[in-house]
């Protein structure tokens, strides 16, 4: 009559210890998974954090982009483009690689003098009269679609800075 603690009983209820054991194991593993997710989330695996901060630089160093590696659909993310080269009274920056099909520009500072499209690329021209070498452009973006987005930022004939962003659904 006396059974061990872990054997299945048939009375008063029919129970299946295999499932209970399985459930317990899932819970044990699941708890660690949840803790790991919280820590990774705090570190920025799901955008905005240490893991998410990325920076890309064009081969000749003209353009440097600080961006977020991870983004989420319909939530804001920032990008800063730094332009460092001798210019006359205006310079231009081209954002392309098909990025703007998936990224919507929410804010753009400073305002460009001119914005034109070349294919699906966007070329922005900024004034740089009486300023030094170093310029920065701040862009607020909102991803529209999940998945991988390839972005390239270039200026005139300079080689582009290329990077990719991963957008979570």
């Amino acid at each position: 009559m006396k059974k061990d603690h872990t054997g299945s009983r048939d009375y008063p209820i029919k129970e299946d210890m295999r499932w209970i054991r399985r459930e317990w194991r899932i819970q044990r593993i699941g708890e660690y998974v949840l803790i790991a997710l919280v820590i990774l989330g705090a570190c920025g695996l799901f955008s905005k954090g240490v893991l998410s901060n990325g920076s890309a630089r064009s081969p000749d160093g003209t353009i440097q982009v600080e961006y977020e590696r991870f983004g989420r659909v319909e939530s804001n993310m920032d990008m800063r483009i730094r332009y460092n080269a001798p210019v006359t009274d205006r310079f231009n920056v081209t954002i392309g690689g098909g990025a703007l099909d998936n990224l919507q520009i929410q804010t753009l500072q400073p305002q460009p003098l001119e914005a034109v499209t070349i294919g699906s690329d966007l070329r922005l021209t900024f004034s740089s009269r009486d300023t030094g070498l170093d310029h920065a452009i701040w862009i607020g973006l909102q991803p529209r679609n999940p998945g991988r987005i390839a972005v390239s930022v270039s200026s005139g004939d300079h080689p582009p800075a290329r990077f990719t962003q991963w957008i979570y659904p």
């Binding site: 603690h5 872990t6 009983r9 008063p12 209820i13 029919k14 129970e15 299946d16 499932w19 209970i20 054991r21 459930e23 317990w24 899932i26 819970q27 699941g30 708890e31 998974v33 949840l34 319909e74 659904p169």
Partner: protein, 149 residues
Amino acid sequence: METVLRAAAIYLVLMVVFKIAGRRTLLQMTSFDLILLLIISEATQQALLGDDFSVTGAALTIITLVTIDIVLGKLKSRFPMVEQAIDGGPVILVENGNLLTERMKMTGISPDDVLEAARSGPGLERFDQIKYAVLEVNGHISIIPQTDS
């Protein structure tokens, strides 16, 4: 399509998270847990509807959630395996006054929880007055008292 996918994804996430949290959460529900549930619903709401303020969107979300529930219910009654996997089965915690400690550890129920259920239910004081204590699927502990011989 997006609305349906959103609702299904949220349903799945909530099911998995609450499965991991276990039945204990239901049993030891305090007023703070109630507040926590309200916050969870608030956090869910945005992802469910996004920036969709239309009646159609809300209706579609509600219909999707209820439909998933109905379909899962049908699957559960058709295939007992599915029910076992999603809901789990009842577990005996106390047998003829003996504590089955291994099982209590697995389900996260302490002897105090069983005694509390014994007091609030049939008004029992000690373990030897309990014939069976069963942790039910809904997270409540049923107490079957020892019949006097």
